[in-house]
Amino acid sequence: MKSHDLLIVGAGLSGMRAALEGAKAGIDVAVVSKVHPLRSHSCAAQGGINAAIDARDKWEVHAYDTVKGSDFIGDEDAIDLMCQEAPGIIHEMDRMGTPFSRTERGDIAQRPFGGASFDRTCYAADRTGQVLLHTLWEQLVKAGVHVYEECHVFRLVTSADGHVAGLIVYDIKTGQLFPLRSKGVLLATGGYGRVFLSSTNATTSTGDGMACAYRAGAPLGDMEFVQFHPTGLRTSGILVTEGCRGEGGYLINASGERFMGRYAPQKWELASRDVVSRAEQTEIIEGRGTNGAIFLDLRHLGRERILERLPQVRQLAIDLEGVDPIFEPIPVRPTVHYSMGGIRTDKFGASPLPGLFASGEAACTSVHGANRLGGNSLLDTIVFGKVTGGHASQYVRKEGLRDFPPQAMQEEQARIADLKGRAGQGVRPFDLRNRMAEDMNTYCGVYREPVGMAKMAETLPGLRQDYDKIHLDDKSEPFNTDLLRAVELRNLMDLAECIVKGALAREESRGAHYRIDQPERDDVNWRKHTLAHWDASSETARLSYEPVRTVGNPEYTPKTRTY
């Protein structure tokens, strides 16, 4: 059986940055990714990455903006760490060769972003994620880190004494299942946007790492906090960066009114994302939208600025919505974008399950709390890739390989055989996923109410029963994406349950979680993190709670959040 000191799952920004840290520490580190590293969804991040690199800015201000943005439920120790590390991370990425956009003087340029009190978002036009991803991939090649490319993790394996023992991996190219032993596993597998029908996320964003960790006994934190990005394209949900508003774009309704002033009189379009998404949804519900959308208007920025700063967004609007933003406003609507929740960790990325670490969107560290600020996710991925990668590398130095229970392989093989072996015309995975995702959009959206959420919670067990009837067309081994979709769907279903149960239980409105029946934030009863635990016997989620990690900074005391 092959073994490594540390296995990193996911080769996006966080996974690759963590792998570099492992290589630097001199441990045997390998990366497992279901897609080639450059296909990872980090590439789709457009607008930028926050850091207080300007002499007039301070990391403390960045940290305060983040605490406030999180609606006072972010863990303050992790937020302080991230914002302190941010400038160093930017300069390090610059030295590695990231082609950041520059000012006339040659400094790294920064643009305004939502919820920030300083223009601190560094960028590369509107493809910041792509250039960061390519740069880290270059460094990964340089460091010679082994990547198990196009290999899907089916299971996180633990030893009898409750430590991480390794992974069971499915090689997509060959259809072969194989075990990998390791002293530690770091999950950097991104988010679960595909739980919802309309999402900015890639089709590969299926929360695999979260689901594997959860079923292996690591709790998931704050799953009810799902960020709706204010500007997803109406038809496809594809992201249109917040950078558009940072560059001065307006949001207008069907009658052409720039409506944000009624909701956020100081920051207008640059209020935080939860605020803007709710404002848009209100406009749409109250009949001031068109075909379920409002509009992002860039026309006044002019052709030159659009082509220089937002060329990709312009092309996407042309290709996918048939609208050239130089001449017409873009129809957009709030669209599922980011999971604030994830594998619960401390500020070093360690989960309560010994040997398991998580970073980036897959983790709930929690630097984003109930609402993430634009430009903080790229930062989170790289800072905590580095921090957690370093921490995990130290951890595995002190640990040995654990027993790898042999039945784990047999069980996974049986699972594949079962999925492939079903005869006849059962439920198609495509249809089942659409049914679940559509309901999730309807009942766990921007505005939530208890009857809808309860309905969703009651629907899920039925969908789970239907999953037991799904039928695969493809029984072959190489590149069986039919099988993969089915495995991913199971992950999505388990995560959907955590989202719904967490949302139904949280009787307040905070950040991205807004309940019509409980419109106020309740700091006395609910300034705490939700933990969802897998109950193996019933195969359902059980909830518990834990306090927010505070640092005693009086600035961080919860107050009314206005923009």
Binding site: S40, C43, R95, Q130, K173, I238, P478
Partner: protein
């Protein structure tokens, strides 16, 4: 817009024992509005008609590079290609990328392509040529090549890769240009010297196919031409390609005419030219041997002045990609 009927004619490939694939074409009927993307419809076919259909995809927004495939005559990203723009008489032909081994259906083996990218040392190197400061213009210069998402479309449609599998290919060379042009790169000269080796920058025939098919307006050929200019400016003129270019340059400057009689000797050297004696005799028999004493064209003085001017005020070569229109 109204629904229209389309036929997706897809090249299916199944791996066979002992390597290689067995291939057939299969038709799938779909109904769609013309402005729906090919990827969306492939997803529908897989989801509703045939779960065995295999293709790569991920971001749906032309940035991850997974879904490059051959669609109606050229390689495109399925996620940004509208079905109505590529259907001919209602038929959309779809096949895997060319010039690369097929694993199954539309999924190719991406390893040979990435091996070429690895071959150009795809990361910044420390060294004596590193600049401590960067300027805005330095970034504008590499902007078009850093847009590359390594989807492989240019390699799939590259006419040189088709006949010469050793060719490094447009994407990898565009990436090489990105490092040669970066102020933070420390070994620019060494890179240029390496790129003058066979099957690299001098093997491109400048057919512009890569410029046309690139979904991200990278214009790889433009990068290749710039690499040649820079290599020659640094004195790397020993390769056949460079010598060929210089021979053209000298002839035109001297008399406004190409001396084809001596061109081969000046490109390949005496020894290699002697090997082509048979071809020369064949040409002589057909009366196709050019005169060794070409005449000087009228107005050559003006031509020389143009050369002088360009040497004093060089211009960057710019090959404009086609105007971006919705596909």
């Amino acid at each position: 817009m109204a629904l229209q009927k389309y036929t997706f004619r897809i090249q299916r490939s199944i791996p066979v024992q002992g390597g290689g694939v067995q291939t057939k074409w299969q038709d799938f009927p779909v109904e769609s509005e013309p402005n729906v993307t090919v990827l969306t419809l492939l997803e529908e076919i897989k989801g509703q008609q045939d779960g065995t259909l295999v293709f790569r995809q991920s971001c749906r927004s032309a940035i991850c590079g997974s879904c490059a495939m051959w669609i109606s005559g050229r390689t495109r990203l399925a996620c940004k290609t509208h079905v109505g723009a590529v259907a001919k008489n209602g038929v959309v032909e779809i096949a895997p990328q060319k010039n690369q081994p097929v694993l199954k259906d539309l999924a190719i083996d991406i390893r040979p392509f990435f091996k070429r990218v690895h071959g150009i040392t795809p990361y910044l190197l420390d060294g004596p040529e590193q600049n401590s400061t960067v300027t805005k213009s330095a970034y504008d210069q590499v902007n078009h090549v850093t847009q590359c998402i390594l989807c492989g479309a240019c390699y799939s449609d590259c006419t040189m890769a088709e006949v010469s599998p050793a060719f490094v290919g447009p994407a990898a060379l565009a990436k090489a240009f990105r490092f040669v042009s970066d102020p933070r790169e420390g070994r620019k000269s060494q890179r240029l010297a390496d790129l003058c080796q066979p099957s690299a920058i001098w093997s491109c025939t400048r057919c512009t196919m890569c410029v046309d098919v690139c979904p991200k307006e990278v214009a790889p050929m433009e990068a290749i031409v710039k690499l040649r200019t820079r290599a020659m400016a640094r004195g790397y003129t020993g390769s056949a390609g460079a010598k060929h270019a210089l021979a053209f340059h000298e002839d035109i400057r001297r008399g406004g005419h190409l001396n084809e009689f001596t061109l081969m000797m000046r490109t390949l050297g005496i020894w290699e030219t002697l090997k082509e004696t048979g071809t020369a005799l064949h040409l002589a028999k057909k009366g196709k041997v050019p005169s060794p004493f070409p005449h000087t064209v009228a107005g050559v003085e003006e031509l020389r002045r143009m050369y002088d001017h360009l040497e004093q005020f060089p211009i960057e070569v710019e090959t404009k990609a086609k105007e971006a229109v919705p596909e």
